[in-house]
Amino acid sequence: MSKIVIIGNSAAAVGCIEGIRSVDKASEIVVISDEQHHVYSRPLISYLLLGSTDRQRMKYRPDSFYADNMTDVMLGKTVVAIDPKAKNVKLKTGEVISYDKLLVATGSSPFIPPMKGLDKAKKCFTFMKLDDALALEKELTPKSRVLVIGAGLIGLKCVEGIADRVGSISVVDMADRILPSVLDKDGAQLVQSFIEKRGVKFYLNDSTAEISENKAVLKSGAEVDFDILVVAVGVRPNISLLKDIGADCGRAIKVNEKCQTSIEDIYAAGDCTESYDISADTNRVLALLPNAYMQGETAGVNMGGGEKVYDNAIPMNAMGMFGYHMITAGSYDGDVYTETDGMNYKKLFYKDNRLVGYIIIGDVERAGIYTSLIRQRTPLNEIDFELIKSKPQLMAFSAQRRAKELAQRH
């Protein structure tokens, strides 16, 4: 029996706790979180504003979760340092918590680039945590003019969340298209048009030149009046705790397949880490909830004395805007199969006899079959690729494979 300390209290932490408890019912678990909240789902903050969830329902796990898993939680406590030799962590309050094994799941923080006059904007928010959303919500009025800087996932989900509660929304992004990290140009155009129908105004290939209290002047010369400013240009992994003690870090903390860092008995998971993206053969920060959970779970099982590897991470995103859905995964490289039909849009990317990525907008049914092809690195010559191109279906697999998948437990 040992003592496991987890820094952070989101998906990776929950994955870790559930991973530990799947193999180890005895060890002590301590969760240290700088937030004051029972574990909740970060991506749900936009749905909270939208009204499709509430404080209670957005809890990622039930109220009894910590008790059920025999876990001590220290909420509102910030870890300031790790001593890997003494095997303890020091809190801002001066408390020292020892550990036998440590998980760093510190996530990431909004990145606020230097912008001229930003300090003049009185109602300026980021959109990452529950407290951010609650603060933003307080300021929303039906007449509010909102300027969102950043047309990425966070920015647009924020747009969706507040769209019906404000007067107008403008979105500025330096990129030439919305959702530049997940969509290609054509797909982005399709989605953009759809969002524009809801009255949202986009300023792309553009950025703020100067911000004053209620107005932003853009580099293009355009002027945008606003009451509320939301900055959502990106996030930075929180890696300082480990970087300070010499752990191997790139853009984020490096971990192996077992989610171990370069320092003994210290694991890391979630948005603060880099993962190996098998679709692109490269290390990336895959800041997405499923990845965080699975990394956390992998770390947890290993910390609890079990054996688990996580070796098939890929970028993937499922997102809806005003009921218009898109699912993307992998990397957009190699040969391309495209299919468009009105509001439905599909691109498959394949190379070296493997599917490596896809973008589907509109009819997303059964997209997971494509995801699985990427993650399993299924050789395309073993399946009926022509058949599966048009529609994700198990019919494209061999009868033996189907028998295995459908007539056996797994």
């Binding site: 789902s41 957005m58 499922a318 049914e365 997971g368 079959i369 995801t371 198990l394």
Partner: protein, 143 residues
């Protein structure tokens, strides 16, 4: 745990499983009342090929990617059964992205998903697709 297994050798492609599924989850007590004039949205789907047909529904995986990926905690696994809490679902479709079998689908509302829960939450008792399959191509058993 008892699971649903399909054997395509015996699937006739009659689609009755889909109708029995849709009826079982309609909450109505009469099939004609439930399904007449309705485009059904069943949780089990028959794939049709040239000489092959088979039905697919949630496999209730032991390592369920949908549960691990669910951003809300609406999908949970207990005693092998993967259940879905509609109340928590926000319709993000991360599960649709994750399920390797394509067995989670949008529900009728478009704001949430639906999946086979082995008829544990309706009045059917045993999975309706299994009961309704005329050729035992779908079975519910311990393997």
């Amino acid at each position: 745990m008892k699971r649903i297994y399909v054997n395509e050798k015996w699937c006739l492609g009659c689609h009755l499983c889909e109708y029995y599924c849709a009826f079982a989850n309609s909450g109505k007590d009469d099939m004609a009342k439930a399904l007449k004039g309705v485009k059904i949205n069943p949780r089990i789907r028959v794939e049709e090929g040239e000489k092959i047909n088979f039905a697919v529904s949630c496999r209730h995986c032991e390592e369920p990617l949908c549960v691990k990926s669910c951003i809300t905690g609406a999908l949970t696994i207990k005693d092998g059964l993967i259940s879905f809490n509609k109340d928590k679902c926000v319709g993000c479709y991360t599960c649709i992205m994750s399920c390797p079998y394509g067995c989670i689908m949008p529900d009728g509302s478009g704001h949430a998903v639906q999946k086979c829960e082995l008829c544990t939450k309706n009045a059917c008792g045993e999975p309706a697709c299994v009961k309704g399959c005329p050729n035992q191509a779908i079975v519910f058993e311990e393997r």
